[in-house]
């Protein structure tokens, strides 16, 4: 089988405008004549994408950007209006909550239905039903119609089916956002193992954390057109920056905030010691926080960083002027700063690092940006950080 699972070249999709009965009649004539739909609205245009076996690709974009349409084209549900879309192999789509599920079927019937939809034989499925039921872990609900399920249960079942049927390409659309914490962890663990074993993933997500941890490459779709394709890290950073700017523009539009008269942060990002951008660090690795701040009076701004664990527990924070640090002036009113955490002693887990900009005296806080990162590694230590310590010989109390 070919190594390329999906190849899209200049793919575009128009949806027909079907306001009136007459336009539907014209549509019928033109479809029967093999000409395609006549009047239309463009949902997607000029998309190039190649997914090879073993790839993990993220698709990011705002609501309505065309992500779901793109996935439908890859899954073969929608016929592209332009360009060519070639897919090889078995595409297991986990589009919205439990796609390939029929609401009137019971959970168990849906397992059979989805596997038949994926083209599996009866025997192949029967071998896997028990594994699916136990992964989904929804108890006796498995024999009730899906329409009585909570959305979390549907996702559990959908994920269980998709994992057991081992499709050549797994597509997930915001699936990880649903389900409780422990199930999400189970899914993440499974996905990491799946990718480690050479599986191929197309992940649609609003969570840059998921995109960065699971994907190597990413594509940002903006208003139906590709805006940026590259490494997951670059795309995620640009995408987040875009949103930062968008909210900042919104903030500026509000009369209370006077744009350009207060210090603010342009961006922050994390790097390894080598200068490579990253969001995942190994236990004990150097972590470098870098950022750009803007100071309207062109005086060196004061900066503050703070690290919190994902559950909000503060770990540590410190102010630049207390250390006598002055940010580097890059241009008029534009300052770059960096903080290095040598052999960062954070224990494995999810963290957020926040940077704040203050006026030069360090009294008033003006702007905040935060970014998430993950520390990976294996240790039996517990708590937040590894404190410097040594075990020494004991003796009797004095």
């Amino acid at each position: 089988m070919s190594d390329v699972l999906v190849r899209l070249e200049g793919v575009g999709k128009d949806y027909p405008l079907l306001a009136s009965g007459a336009s539907r009649a014209r549509m019928l004539v033109s479809l029967l004549a093999g000409r395609g739909a006549a009047s239309h609205a463009t949902a997607l245009d000029g998309i190039d994408l190649e997914i090879r076996r073993g790839d993990a690709v993220g698709i990011v974009g705002e609501n309505g950007a065309g992500k779901s349409t793109l996935i439908k084209i890859i899954a073969g549900v929608v016929k592209p209006s332009r360009g060519t879309a070639v897919t090889n192999g078995r595409v297991g789509a986990l589009l919205e909550l439990g796609s390939g599920f029929h609401p009137d079927y019971t959970g168990r019937e849906n397992i059979y239905l989805s596997s038949a939809l994926l083209g599996l034989s009866r025997r192949e499925t029967e071998d896997k039903v028990e594994a699916i039921v136990s992964f989904a872990d929804i108890g006796a609900h498995i024999d009730e119609p899906i329409k009585h399920y909570s959305s979390g249960m549907v996702v559990r079942l959908g994920f269980a089916v998709a994992t057991a049927l081992s499709p050549d390409l797994l597509i997930t659309d915001e699936v990880l956002a649903v389900g409780d914490e422990s199930f999400q962890k189970k899914c993440m663990r499974w996905l990491e193992r799946y990718l480690g074993g050479g599986g191929t993933l197309l992940l649609v997500s609003h969570s840059m954390y998921h995109v960065q941890t699971l994907c190597r490459r990413a594509l940002w779709i903006h208003q139906g057109r590709p805006r940026l394709a590259g490494t997951a890290f670059d795309v995620a950073r640009e995408y987040l920056t875009y949103h930062e700017e968008k909210t900042r523009v919104a903030r500026a539009a509000a009369p209370a905030a006077v744009s350009g008269t207060q210090p603010r942060l342009e961006s922050i990002w994390l790097e390894r010691a080598s200068g490579e951008g990253a969001a995942t660090f190994a236990l004990g690795e150097d972590i470098v926080l870098r950022g750009i701040a803007l100071e309207p009076d062109d005086r060196t701004p004061a900066l503050l960083f703070g690290i919190v664990r994902a559950d909000g527990t503060p770990v540590y924070g410190s102010l630049s002027i207390d250390a006598g640090y002055a940010a580097t002036r890059l241009a008029e009113r534009r300052y770059a700063f960096a903080v290095r955490f040598p052999a960062a002693p954070l224990l494995p887990g999810k963290y957020e690092i926040r940077a704040h900009v203050l006026e030069p005296e360090g009294l008033r806080l003006f702007d905040t940006i935060e970014t998430a990162f993950v520390v990976t590694g294996e240790t039996r230590d517990f708590g937040l950080v590894r404190l410097a310590h040594e075990w020494i010989p004991g003796r009797e109390a004095p």
Binding site: M1, Y15, P16, L18, G21, R24, A25, M27, L28, L31, L32, G34, A37, K72, A75, G76, V77, V78, K79, G89, R90, V91, A93, L95, E96, S99, G100, F101, H102, P103, D104, Y105, E109, Y112, L113, S114, A116, L117, L118, G119, L120, S121, R122
Partner: protein, 261 residues
């Protein structure tokens, strides 16, 4: 649509078929008996109105008593009429699948029509046995001879069902129109009356209706009178042509279902 390598869509069709048959009656206490009950009530009503009140002429019934005359045509009619209705329902009913998973949509139509034929075949067989016990001259050898015609009727129904189901996705008016049309076709088919009652020139027009042809032939064959006729071949060819045309239209439109639903 080709199945993934090494696989076929046969099991998916089996799934749809099983579901089509079981879904209608699961959860009801009567189960599949309802499949028999509804036609039986229709049979009783039509027999009362057309057999007793309006008195169909006994000499035109080809040797059958009126309820038997009616029953032999009623179940095949339901195979057609119910199948068309189910075929038109099955695309909207499976919107959630069509919008998210790629599979050959015609399997839904095959399942809708196949499931309906299966249910009404059971009913028909039961009724034919009952008629025989009641003393009607039902010939089971004739039933075997009727099977190719039944297959032709299946192909014809599948073609019509596929055509209308696809058309309905694009044009919302189809469903309303078909409801009316089925009533008209029911009375344009000699089910509740013998064809002999129709004046000669109109009778020839009615004979163009393939359903009129097959129900008349079922009555002939089941009475044990005669074997195949040249017209049977004509009906089979016409049915296959209907099937081909219906599937052609369906396949032209089905890639666009997701856009239109």
């Amino acid at each position: 649509m080709p199945a993934p390598p090494g696989h076929s869509w046969r099991w998916l069709l089996a799934n749809f078929l099983k579901r089509e048959v079981s879904s209608r009656y699961t959860g009801s206490m009567g189960g599949i008996l309802w499949a028999l009950a509804s036609p039986l009530v229709q049979l009783a009503l039509y027999a009362l109105v057309f057999g007793v009140l309006l008195r169909a002429p006994a000499d035109a019934l080809g040797g059958w008593r009126f309820p038997a005359f009616l029953a032999i045509a009623l179940w095949p009619w339901l195979m057609f009429g119910d199948s068309v209705k189910r075929a038109m329902d099955c695309i909207p009913a499976n919107t959630s699948l069509i919008r998210k998973v790629a599979f050959p949509h015609e399997l839904l139509i095959v399942a809708a029509v196949g499931g309906t034929f299966f249910i009404h075949l059971l009913g028909w067989a039961a009724v034919l046995v009952a008629l025989r016990l009641w003393g009607e001259p039902v010939s089971f050898a004739g039933l075997l001879l009727a099977l190719p015609l039944l297959a032709a009727q299946f192909a014809f129904t599948l073609g019509v069902g596929a055509f209308l189901a696809a058309l309905q996705v694009v044009l919302r008016d189809v469903e309303q129109a078909v409801g009316l049309a089925l009533t008209v076709v029911f009375y344009a088919t000699p089910i509740v009356y013998p064809l002999a009652l129709i004046p000669a020139p109109y009778r020839d027009w009615l004979a163009l209706n393939p359903l009129a042809y097959v129900v008349t032939r079922y009555r002939d064959l089941l009475s044990g009178a005669g074997g195949w006729q040249p017209g049977d071949i004509g009906v089979m060819v016409a049915s296959l042509a209907t099937l081909a045309a219906g599937l052609w239209v369906f396949r032209r439109l089905s890639p666009w279902f997701e856009d239109l639903l």
